[in-house]
Symmetry: C2
Subunit: 415 residues, 2 copies
């Protein structure tokens, strides 16, 4: 060790990204492959075909996670080095979020195949089910079930926003496998991803060594007020659900979110009023709160600030406020050894790089519950993601995959 | 003069209200007769039938206003005393808003017919088109065109929220008449209406003598921000259209609306975000602002406060804010002589009463541009309107109509 460096087929990786990105293409740009839709099935079929063409052993588990395994030479235990992410998308998505990490994993397996080399451990390329959580919540569901954080039965029974049941849709598209989730236990887990944020681009850096991931708290809040005529109801007699919701949003931004980098973020992405008429005081307001913080104590403090404000507001405005927890994940600190290995590879390949915190949730945070895990980021142009304008230059995509391949080689060599 | 008091057929009035209220009934309660819909046509057909049964001359003008005229004895000029309101409704409306005033006008005409008496002047019962403004804006459109405040061509060309053209829908339901709007010029105008507010009920009074009406300013505001990932975009780099909208709503309630009775009211009844996803910073927010004040200078000051705030907010948040004026009506002071006459009738009939300002807009404010006008209010239970729970006790409805009949008799006798 080290053996000669394996060669990444950059052209093939980029072509694969384009080909998968054409599945579920929208007329107006972008692509839509919501988890367990027909388009998701078509994307999975393409991925499985590519895995089989590379001679990988394909396994599907009972939550629909797809694994393509390149067998190892049998040194040590049989637990694979896993490289994964997801291929489901949001509506009108870019081509990179998730897909880049899965296809780069395939490129790593291809590099071994092309060189006729057998890794010391199996390499498992994983595509986890329903990372985006568009139709079925929570998001990152496939990796959460895989890591034992959500029961298979509960996941399969999930009712989607369209009234469908996840288990039925999974069977319908032919991806209800028979492998127990978690049966393929990883020795370690790597995930390569676009940053989906502005930091690397703003600092002109090529590689992000992701050593931790923010905690996430999602709630849905419903304010019940009283509908009344906008022109005849004195201000003091109002129970205005819309105003109350807006007061919460303003409070979160002005009193809870912090301007300091790496601190508390607060977002209300969805807000709906009923009856939603110009001259009627809103009877009901339903909105979401997305709080994130890399520090668990600070995240809990933000949740408490919000809870206290809701109590005061309900009292002051004479409204009833319900909160529903949609998702809650504590901050994750990734494996220090893997992060060091990523940094070493970046340095070896001459890449500019920095240690960083992931602002977005990723499958890696779930797998981190059961195996050492870490992530590699490449820049996102304008920080834009979940959007057809999501973009990373081809050269940066290739560089990220080369870093991944280098980490894998050294990891397996040093194993 | 005075001749013997005419008798109001209270049972018939209440039966008429119930019968018209059954037209366009919703499965879940309430009724929906949006202007120029099939249900509006059915309501108009019923009203016209009742007018014809009473021997009233029915005229339809080119904006679809319906007039039923009881001829006078010919004393003085031929201009009628007009009693009007509207029979179109909001979605899931009560049975009283508008309909009560029109049907009470019919009850007044019926009282003359039943007694075999001919009034000195014609009595015109009017039902104005599209008072509610649900599908076509502005609201109070029929009376606005009638009073010369909006050109007929502009009104007929109005495109609705469903993409239809008002003139085509008017013709489709058979109510595109040939009378020029305003051809039936009133000598005076009276409108009887439920208060749609809490004041009379709160003070335990039977009759409101409406001597003025608040000014109304309606705007639609659109904030253009930048959609971005909720987890990866630092607070300082956000251009959050949703937060900006909420900040405006909070500002209006906390800095512009006044807790003092009879002062500035501010309402945001409609607010929509795009893309409206939990983990995406809103790209766009569209919301409405309804400002009302009985004092024109104060109303203008409120508009200016809002405009100034929008400029600061756009600068501070790096968003673009567009405003569109949807409606603007200055406060209206009704005819003092008519208000005195209403108060005299209320006193004559032994009703408890007070002078008051209308918080809602009414056709009377449009007709006031071309004739002396005033309004009579009866209590609204809980101040609730635009809702199936809208309610006024039968005895109060009858009392209001008796006051109206008394005002008409004395007005025509004293003419």
């Amino acid at each position: 060790m080290p053996e000669p460096t394996l060669a990444l087929d950059a052209a093939r990786l980029l072509a694969d990204i384009r080909a998968l990105g054409a599945v579920g293409a929208d007329p107006g740009g972008g692509r839509t492959r919501i988890a367990l839709s027909d388009a998701d099935q078509a994307g999975r079929d393409l991925l499985v075909r590519w895995m089989r063409e590379l001679g990988l052993q394909v396994h599907i588990d009972r939550i629909g996670n797809v694994f393509g395994i390149l067998p190892g030479s049998g040194g040590g235990d049989a637990r694979p080095l896993m490289i994964g992410s997801h291929i489901d998308t949001v509506r009108h998505a870019g081509a990179l979020d998730g897909c880049y990490g899965v296809l780069a994993g395939l490129a790593v397996a291809r590099a071994y195949r092309s060189a006729g080399r057998t890794p010391r451990r199996p390499i498992a390329v994983a595509a986890f089910t329903n990372e985006e959580g568009v139709r079925y919540q929570p998001d990152m569901m496939g990796s959460l079930v895989f890591a034992g954080g959500l029961s298979l039965d509960a996941a399969l029974a999930t009712v989607g926003t369209d009234g469908t049941r996840l288990g039925e849709e999974l069977a319908r598209i032919g991806y209800a496998g028979d492998l127990a989730p978690g049966a393929i236990a990883p020795h370690a887990y790597l995930e390569l991803h676009i940053e989906q944020g502005p930091v690397l681009e703003a600092e002109g850096l090529q590689i992000g060594v992701v050593e931790r991931l923010q905690g996430i708290s999602w709630q849905r809040i419903t304010v019940h007020g009283t509908a009344n005529h906008a022109g005849t109801t004195p201000t003091r007699l109002r129970h205005d659900a819309g105003y109350a919701a807006c007061a919460v949003v303003a409070f979160l931004r002005e009193q809870v979110a912090s301007a300091a980098p790496g601190s508390t973020l607060a977002t209300t992405g969805s807000l709906r009023l009923a009856p939603d008429l110009i001259n009627v005081i809103p009877r009901q307001a339903t909105f979401t709160v997305d709080l994130r913080d890399p520090d668990e104590a600070r995240l809990q403090a933000a949740e408490q600030q919000l809870a206290d404000f809701l109590v005061q507001l309900a009292e002051r405005e004479g409204v009833v406020i319900e909160t529903e927890r949609l998702a809650r994940f504590a901050p994750v600190v990734f494996d220090a050894g893997l992060a060091d290995a990523i940094e070493a590879s970046a340095r070896r390949l001459g890449c500019t790089h920095r240690r960083m915190t992931s602002g977005a949730g990723h499958d890696a945070q779930m797998v981190a519950r059961i195996a050492p895990a870490a992530m590699i980021f490449v820049p996102s142009q304008g920080g834009i993601s979940h959007n057809p304008r999501e973009h990373t230059d081809d050269a940066q995509l290739v560089l990220g995959a080369q870093v991944l391949l280098d980490v894998v080689q050294h990891h397996l060599a040093a194993d």
